[in-house]
Subunit: 380 residues, 2 copies
């Protein structure tokens, strides 16, 4: 691997995840206003950069993901990389061939600058004084990281959910830099049902007295209950009704109770409690607010005259992946975005994963996912 | 109208809604345990009871409804009866022909005994010491009211959502008493997605420090924010994704803000805030918990060997009404319940309302609803 981190770069291993590096991209101006004096992105890489620095794959993570897309279990990642079956030698994202980069998003809480970071001007965590950041901001920050790493172009950018929004935005924002883009389970703009579910989670966090208008850091009190409820609402949008019938049905809970009984307890409730509780231990509530808001606000047409005008900028070949039972980003809307890209002149493909897993399929239905994306990735 | 309220009955006009009466059905033992020493049901009637006391229609209301199914606006009901277009002279439920009864459910907060009622043993409101009540309990309480009113049988029982669960339960629990039953937008048992959404609302209420384990009455503090969030989660299940695209899309909010801006505000968010806020002013949070739990717990098979065994008890002719875009009680599951009733030997019919209105269609798509149910009601 040959890296030229550039003059302004500072690299130091981040804590908790071996192999994770921190890199400063300097000052950053989010598109909706405000300024961040010094933005750090945490990232990981796999494989070797070639001499032309163009064998690069960027993996963009989803809402509560992070840079640890691949690799084995570690202290922070008991189950290993969140996309590990997709990334490695001989896998769809082949680390024998590609130099693979995954960075924690701007606004996140796993090493990259976000609301829990200390504002150097005040010496205090940003909290809700952190500027609103968008999918485009995340992509622009990633571009600065790649530039500093000496990358000359992306052979592929791929991700699911808000990672899929980033993949699409990459192709629109930096058309000459991207050869292929694979937005999985993502559209040009989230629908009102998704925005509504997102808002339920936000209100739950903000209504929690532990939230304290976002200034809960170092108070010994956090919006745990609110974040857990937000996660529960999120989990509902990641699964499908038939999938939940199959997995949970109306069976009584088997797990230990996290909350008081009230006329019995269903497995689905117990599962939601568990998932809510699990996120509280590993994710910052303010980051959850900011990243969810970025998902809601994203519209590929933002800043252009129309969706078509935005999509007409694309030079990359696109593969949109829809999931039949997805209700956060319904397959019909993913296909509609793919069709719009075609009509706008892009080389746009669409493939559908037929599953009951819902939106979550991109994080678990490995065989189907590989079948959907591998031919597109390997076809040169 | 000829009424024999029976020896134990006490009738007095309830406050707030002209025409609403209170009736004591005495002590009541909910099926899952506990005892209520003195249960009052608030109810309203329209039309005249005939000499045989068998021209009776019972209307069963949904989660946040009450006895005011029909009639004009009053102080408590600015928009009039919640099913007014369905009930009146010449309307599908014809008050020129039928004696129509609608009572607020056991566990409710609009005159009937519920968690906000004072427990005569302690002199304090029940709060969460109120026993868990079921759909079957609601139906058994209604039966006692009808017996006291001298009603000899139901020509029809009809309702939507948990009102539909009650209509179905009536036909199973009191097979000889019911001639026709019309469960609208209801199945034999709610699916895990519905239970999960319900649990999100419950946790939001219970996490609100104003809830105080249910003992918030007379403390000057109520779980307003939690109840509003629960209502928002409920509203999501009452609408459909395509319906929300049509009605709200991604349009910015036009209403005054009830909550702080955070990177802009969408119409769907503003609508949810409004709906949440609106319920807070008119509904008791503990009642919301109990009635939602009754919806979750209802399984027509409860107490029988199977769904089929339960449905084989039915003597009434059934009409199940499904709503194509309903995701709380999906049309396919309503149809499945209708089919199971047929296979169990019941005279079971199924009709579908094709609409984008979602679950809420039974409270707004009047023309379609009338077309769906009127032929069945008037066919003798």
């Amino acid at each position: 691997m040959t890296l030229d981190p550039g003059a302004g770069a500072s690299q130091a291993p981040a804590q908790g995840t071996p192999g994770r590096l921190n890199h400063s991209i300097g000052a950053f101006e989010p598109e909706l206003g405000g300024v961040l004096n010094d933005v750090t992105l945490a990232y990981e890489t796999w494989g070797e950069l070639n001499a032309d620095a163009d064998n690069v794959v960027l993996i963009t993570h989803a809402l509560t993901g992070d840079s640890h897309a691949a690799g084995g279990p570690c202290a922070e990642h008991r189950r290993g990389g969140w996309w590990d079956p997709m990334v490695g030698p001989g896998r769809p994202v082949d680390t024998g061939k590609y130099f693979v980069v995954c960075s924690n998003v701007l606004g996140g809480c796993s090493g990259s600058t976000g609301p829990s970071s200390v504002d150097s001007e005040t010496g205090e965590p940003y909290g809700m004084r952190f500027p609103v950041v968008t999918i485009r901001d995340m992509v622009r920050a990633q571009k600065r990281l790649l530039d500093d790493l000496g990358v000359s172009g992306l052979a592929l950018v791929i991700g699911g959910s808000i990672g899929g929004q980033q993949a699409l935005e990459w192709a629109v924002e930096f058309p000459d830099f991207v050869e292929k883009a694979v937005p999985v389970a993502a559209t040009g703009a989230l629908g009102p049902q998704g925005v509504g579910m997102s808002e339920i989670g936000r209100r739950a966090i903000m209504a929690d007295p532990g939230w304290q208008n976002g200034d809960y850091y170092d108070t010994g009190k956090t919006p745990e209950e609110g974040l857990a409820i937000a996660r529960m609402a999120g989990m509902m949008t990641y699964q499908s009704a038939p999938g939940q019938w199959e997995r949970f049905g109306r069976r009584p809970a088997g797990r230990p109770a996290l909350h008081k009984e009230f006329g019995g307890r269903f497995e689905i409730e117990s599962y939601l409690h568990y998932q809510g509780n699990d996120l509280v231990g590993r994710f910052d509530a303010n980051s959850y607010l900011y990243l969810g808001r970025a998902m809601d606000l994203y519209d590929v047409a933002n800043g252009y005259g129309s969706t078509e005008e935005a999509l007409s900028r694309v030079c990359a070949e696109l593969l949109f992946v829809g999931i039949t039972s997805d209700w956060l980003f319904p397959a019909s809307e993913v296909k509609d975005t793919a069709d719009k890209a075609s009509r706008a002149g892009a080389r746009s493909n669409y493939v559908e994963i037929d599953t009951l897993s819902g939106h979550d399929a991109f994080l678990k239905d490995w065989t189907e996912l590989e079948q959907a994306v591998k031919p597109f990735i390997t076809n040169t």
